[in-house]
Symmetry: C2
């Protein structure tokens, strides 16, 4: 219920982020003078809220205009995010040193409570009752900070804003804009980098930092507690890479697509891993007296928490994605793009809320929801909704990302609890270097044992180099800045982000040319075959060689999943794929007919024409579901959809589809622009 | 600065609206048990926040799916907003009677303060300090409500959410999607309806309701104070019409365009008038003892406030619109639609903040910003950005509007301070009927004295009928529900919205046919000439008749503004219009050359092709800036841009352009589909 409030005071700058504050336009009918004073204060505070948000909008506007100038003149040494940070820094300096340090007019009032803090407080002021809500604890030494500079306080957002408002669109967009073909071709390696790599990096950085902390204690540089779990948390926070700058340049220069997929896939997934990892480390609470010794039970509990949160969030994301796909498939919403887009937006947002309501991590769920939406729902959307959803999330992502980076610049000066410890900072830089090296090189070596298309040394160096830290590390670090150790970690993270975005980001173009990495690559084209000994193993034609290669590259579980996806999920959830009547056993005939949309039988030509670069649809996979062969001119033979119910036949058909999917580019090279599918000689 | 908080408790459902709450993932290192309990509570509360938002998303999803069904089957008796309210009602009933009335676990704590409430409160709990922020006053009788049903509390949003988050996109979209041609053709009438009409309606409803209140006092139906200013405030609140349902049906059936323009224009502008009017009434505070007698000084102060806020907000909106237009004109941002869209979004949002920061009304500023953006900036945007911005605000508008309406349904049961007084409600229904009648019929009579194209009786009846109340009335009413009178006004407003949206909205189609209002009208076509005596006044050809008509219809100040806009503003702010070198005096040559973009000289063909239905550009006006005549096949003679610097010539040229603009449809009727501009016989 709404509280019967007479006076509405500015509550949170947070609120402003969404719309710009509140205004007390309510009238007082009694004891007017004193209430008038409160109202004046409220209005003044509201005005300041608006001004602080205007500051950020000005920052973003400036950033956009400068980005345009840079893009216009093809300047590549500074990315928009780096620029946003610079403008943020400048405004931060102005706010810090240019505005008078007004003592807050909100005089704090102390009164003693007995037991523990209540969420809601009723205060009796000369007969009237006022409701107060708990904002948080203040360490006794910092009480006077509450009274400090109003403007600095106004431009400081609640840390949870980053997690709950700004990260979701960024992460969803990452999942939704995944270039699926190259992502899936390198799925094994990406998963290895993201999971094993992040764990290794977190563990190594954590341990190295614990050494640094020990050293600081020895030389008397540390004035407060700094536990091993804090070090591990730092390792988790700083293991979330965000090569947004590098990827932007890759995109612009059309650098090697596999390297792009590896970097992009790793950074997308390791964000999720880092979030869950940090939550698990936080959950590591040994029982008993000695709360900072190693406790096996607590450790396994943490591992359990990790697995639980991760799989739960994954499920949430996948489920809402699937539900959206089903809705968009079985209703004819695509006649009304506005409704379709609104539904898509609401369902994607509900993933976040659903995951949070169930105690999982919304951001992680949103990532997998994005991937599922791209894989299934996108195929069911109308052409207009495809571009609408794409553009909507692109704008949200752009605004959120630049906002975070300009806030970072600002925070260097406006955040009032920085602890810069030179030893810790230098140690952290060395640790993240070693941590990244210790995960890229050994993992690449191991992966190369199994990979057909090796990750070359140059690629490994480039991946090593691209270990930038960005929005996710910042959001994780600012989440909790209550203790001394966390404040030190936050300040260090900020410096690491600055350094990597400016220096590493700026050095990408020289590094690319120095490492001889191909640029100007057609994204639909395969990398040229390498000249190592694996090249000709089985078969003798280039076609069987290609097939053999893709077979090697994709692990058995991936092949299993792919065939399941291609034969059952895609036909159930989208209008593409082979009709279920051909893939399901014959006793499921009724269900199969219900779930198979009539479009499946005649959507081949239509699908093939569509933009397959953004999201690869199975338009060119469906062509062989029967025994028909598509000729090069695009017309197909009569559809024999109800034939070939034989299991083996179907399986081999899906494998062919997979091979074509993964290696389709080889064919396409010969017919660029039209994406015709040539008749395959080995069509059983 | 951020407060060093250990524990983050859910602060506002408001926050959730933007992203879905917050989560306390912070770890405690000491006195773990008691903090663990607080953390559990915080997590529980966060979960409830997520669930409550999920409820709304579910509601919206259901609404979308049902709308689709309705549109699919061409059901017109129930609009999406009516549907959203029904679903809201159902969920409201479930929440109210289906969930256990849990006593809140946040036990209120009382402690006495001396003087007046502080904004911030520091509370000492066993040595630790916690910060609390003021939420509002609670009347002593309602203290126990604070402890009531958690779920009901969770689904109740801060009233300012509606004003600061949900209304701005709705209002901006209204301004941005204005069909300018028909709007400007009826500008005089629209302004009269919006300003005079709303004032008359407010005053009449206010006085009638004061009579009702007097009556209630007589028969003992009123248990608390209800002042004359409260009645006037009710008049202002309920004078904001929102014929969204009617307009949707008009759009679908292609009903008469002038009637559409009158209704749409009136409802858009009277929202602004009603907001400012209610603020002015609130500002009416007589000095001295007798605070509820008439005070001339206070009255004139209120009038001053009205004029000040309105013109200030108007200026703010116009200025940011103009700045955006200039930026988009003089940078080549249109090469990067993403940047352009982001800039457009940020600038439009900054209008809101700027107005709020200066003490004006953000929502009103946003309306005029939308109109300015549509009039100028839209012409400078790239084709992609045009559809992007259009679609972005369309989606935001759709979501916000349906959210408000489903919240209204919910609020009927979850709002816990309803006061339904049958006498007041019946009185209010009669009052709004009389109030609308008293402004539509007399004003239409007066307007018809001056209008060439009369507002027929049927149109007047339809306008009378279309006086629905919607989102704006609700947002104004829920803004302040602190006193008895305001609670009664809120409950009554809710019922009026329900009744008008369901009954009036559902009766639109029958009403249209009963009143013989034309449907299936081509939006670009003029209404057929009426057979009254004004038809042939001057000249004898149909062309001069048309010109004469438009001359009569547009008042002198409008013609003045139009020629100023066409000759100076459009060329300065956009790439269209006559080059400034031809319209400015010759001594301004340098400035004129700087401000005139090179595109002006060769953008005629390009502009003419574009979507002129959404926003009418001056593509077909620019054709006569020189002495050249565009022939019907679209090719123009040589551009003699530097000729005709003569003032009279230019003026007459702009008048011709105006006539063509207002009456262009007559020509176009003959060449539908291509929008060719025919050579005009009377081209001086």
């Amino acid at each position: 219920m709404t509280l019967p409030l007479r006076r509405r005071l500015p509550v949170l700058p947070l609120l402003l982020l969404a719309a710009g504050g509140m205004r007390a336009a309510e009238r007082s009918s009694s004891s007017a003078m004193e209430e008038l004073a409160t109202e004046k204060e409220a209005e003044e505070s509201h005005r300041q809220d608006s001004v602080s948000l205007l500051t950020f909008i000005l920052l973003l506007t400036l950033t956009i205009l400068t980005i345009w100038l840079f893009k216009h003149r093809r300047v590549r040494f500074l990315h928009e995010t780096g620029l946003a940070m610079i403008y943020g820094l400048i405004v931060g300096v102005i706010l810090r040193y240019g505005t008078p340090s007004t003592s807050g007019h909100d005089k704090p009032f102390s009164c003693s409570q007995e037991d523990r803090p209540f969420t809601t407080l009723l205060v009796n002021v000369s007969g009237k009752f006022f409701e107060y809500t708990l904002k948080g604890e203040i360490s006794p030494g910092k009480i006077h900070n509450v009274e400090q500079n109003d403007m600095l306080r106004k431009v400081t957002f609640d840390p949870e804003v980053f997690f709950n408002i700004l990260l979701p669109p960024i992460i969803f967009h990452a999942g939704y804009s995944l270039k699926k073909r190259h992502f899936f071709r390198n799925l094994g390696s990406i998963l290895a980098y993201a999971f094993l790599g992040t764990a290794v990096s977190c563990f190594i950085i954590g341990n190295l930092m614990y050494g640094v902390v020990k050293l600081m204690k020895l030389v008397g540089q540390l004035s407060d507690k700094f536990y091993y779990t804090d070090c591990l948390l730092f390792g988790a926070i700083i293991s979330a890479t965000d090569p947004v700058t590098v990827l932007a340049i890759f995109n612009e220069l059309h650098a090697d697509v596999d390297l792009y997929a590896l970097l992009f896939g790793e950074s997308v997934l390791n964000d999720a891993v880092a979030i869950v990892l940090s939550s698990s480390i936080v959950a590591y609470q040994p029982t008993g007296e000695n709360t900072h010794a190693f406790d096996a039970a607590a450790f396994f509990k943490s591992v359990g928490v990790f697995l639980g949160i991760f799989s739960g969030s994954f499920m949430m994301g996948a489920v809402t994605g699937v539900v959206t796909a089903l809705i968009s498939k079985f209703t004819k919403l695509h006649c009304f793009p506005l409704l379709e887009t609104a539904l898509f937006f609401l369902m994607s947002w509900s993933t976040f809320l659903l995951a949070e309501a169930c105690g999982f991590t919304g951001v992680v769920a949103v990532l997998f929801c994005g991937i599922t939406q791209a894989h299934y729902t996108y195929n069911n959307l109308s052409v207009e909704s495809r571009s609408r959803t794409k553009q909507l999330f692109e704008v949200l992502h752009f605004l959120a990302e630049n906002f975070i980076f300009s806030y970072m610049g600002l925070a260097l000066f406006t955040f009032q609890k920085h602890i810069f410890s030179p030893v810790f900072i230098i140690g952290a830089f060395i640790a993240i270097f070693l941590g990244r090296a210790a995960h890229i090189y050994p993992l690449s070596f191991l992966l190369n044992l199994g990979r057909r298309h090796k990750i070359s040394w140059n690629f490994q160096h480039m991946m090593m180099f691209s270990g930038l830290r960005g929005a996710m590390a910042f959001a994780l670090a600012i989440r909790d800045t209550a203790t001394y150790s966390h404040q030190m970690m936050f300040s260090t993270t900020l410096l690491i982000v600055f350094f990597t975005v400016w220096i590493v980001g700026g050095g990408t173009t020289p590094m690319l040319s120095w490492l001889n990495i191909r640029v100007g690559v057609d994204p639909d084209q395969d990398p040229p075959p390498t000249n190592d000994s694996f090249q000709v193993l089985q078969g003798d034609g280039p076609d069987s060689e290609r097939r053999n290669r893709t077979k090697q590259e994709s692990a058995w579980f991936f092949r299993l999943w792919y065939s399941f996806d291609h034969n059952y999920l895609k036909p159930i959830l989208t209008h593409s794929g082979p009709p279920l009547t051909t893939t399901l056993p014959s006793w499921c005939g009724l269900i199969a007919r219900c779930l198979t949309s009539p479009q499946v039988y005649d959507n081949q030509e239509q699908l093939r024409e569509e933009d397959s670069d953004f999201i690869l649809n199975d338009g060119d996979l469906t062509v062989t579901y029967g025994d028909t062969t598509i000729t090069a001119n695009g017309s197909s033979g009569p559809h024999t959809a109800t034939t070939s119910l034989d299991g083996r036949r179907t399986k081999s058909s899906s494998e062919e589809a997979l091979e074509r999917d993964l290696g389709a580019a080889d064919h396409e090279v010969t017919s660029r622009g039209t994406r015709l599918v040539f008749p395959l000689e080995d069509n059983a």
